[in-house]
């Protein structure tokens, strides 16, 4: 159980840091939005790892509900960011 939480917890941290690095280094909006999503996925992974309590146990449903909310909010924020990026490109082209 401890091995599982440490492995996936570390993976979550890696996703977060990789995403953050991508957000800072990329210059195009789409690549940044993608990196931000990877960053968010890392946070979700950490939450779910914190909820996990071993193979035979029921996990904590509260972080699960938070992550479910988070996934939907992340996709709406992505949609808004993409729409803004598209508008910015249009303005640049005019």
């Amino acid at each position: 159980m401890l091995a599982t939480t440490i492995i996936y917890g570390f993976a979550g941290i890696c996703l977060f840091v990789l995403g953050l690095r991508g957000v800072l280094l990329h210059t195009t909006a789409l690549a940044r939005i993608l990196a931000l999503n990877v960053c968010g996925a890392g946070v979700f992974l950490l939450f779910v790892v914190l909820a996990y309590r071993g193979a035979g146990m029921t996990p904590d449903p509260v972080p699960h509900a938070l992550v479910l909310t988070g996934i939907v909010v992340a996709v709406s924020a992505t949609a808004l960011a993409l729409a803004l990026a598209r508008r910015l490109r249009e303005i640049d082209h005019d």
Binding site: T28, L45, L68, I71, A83
Partner: protein, 329 residues
Amino acid sequence: MSELLWVLFDLVLAGLTVGLAWVAVATRELRRGVLLFVGLGLLLAVIWARLRAPDLALAEAAIGAGIAGALLIAALRDEIGVSAEPEDGYTASRRLVDLGAIGLLLALSWGLLDAFLLSDGVRLAEGVAERLGESGVINPVTAVLLNFRAYDTLLELAVVFAAVLGVLSVGPARPALEAGSLVLTGLVRWLVPILVVVAGYLLWVGAHAPGGAFQAGAMLAAVAVLLRLGGVAHAGLPGTAATRWLLVLGIGVFVIVGLSVMFADRAFLQYPGDIAGVLILVIEIAATLSIATALALAYLGGRPVGWEADCDSPQHRVNRGAADRGGDA
């Protein structure tokens, strides 16, 4: 032995996920990055299943990989010819970012180990398990989402609504794709009714098994994406006025239910135990429709054809028809 096998499985799965994320973020080709991101979403869905979070596995596959992937792929078409290449000449600041990233990685890892090895935190899970019987549903995640922390979910619907208002106000929708090959339109025709049934099923089982409003809403939004790919310009959305009502239905029903329980001397959103199940189902049906509409509009990427015409004239049907013909020509 089986314990060791699981550790091996965890290592492979976590390693694959991190590797895929690395390539998806670091690649210089946007298209490659987006496709790998969809793959990453599917791997995450497997991880959620492994960590005993089937509700999240469903949501991740449908929303995180499916809808977000569709959004990013649609956005790719706007960016043809653009590469995601980080500009050279900033090598000094790149080094700085890399150093910072490594520092952050170490600090967070230390924090993680500290959290797992030293402290035995207080959990809300016991509270949820204790009072699950009063929630009106059996699936604890649905109980948390729509009863114990219903306030959060209401505000979340408001966030989704606000994001879609933003998308709608930024500009018109992308031009529709022309109808593709016969195979695709045939598949769409065949899949759409099945997906609608699956959405209804997910909504219904959410009370006692993995599923619920978000997964069902994403499934309906997938119908819209499929229809749009099959050449249906309005993506299955009804007329403009009806679309607007669908968009606010979720929040509206949620607030009305939340307020009406106050007449029975209860707090806002504190459902009476005996009818909680019914109230949750009513809210979930409304939320499903709103989420589906919101995600479908997000996929269109802006105001659908005929949206402005409605603002000025009460004869929206007539105008919408005219605008549709104009748009298709």
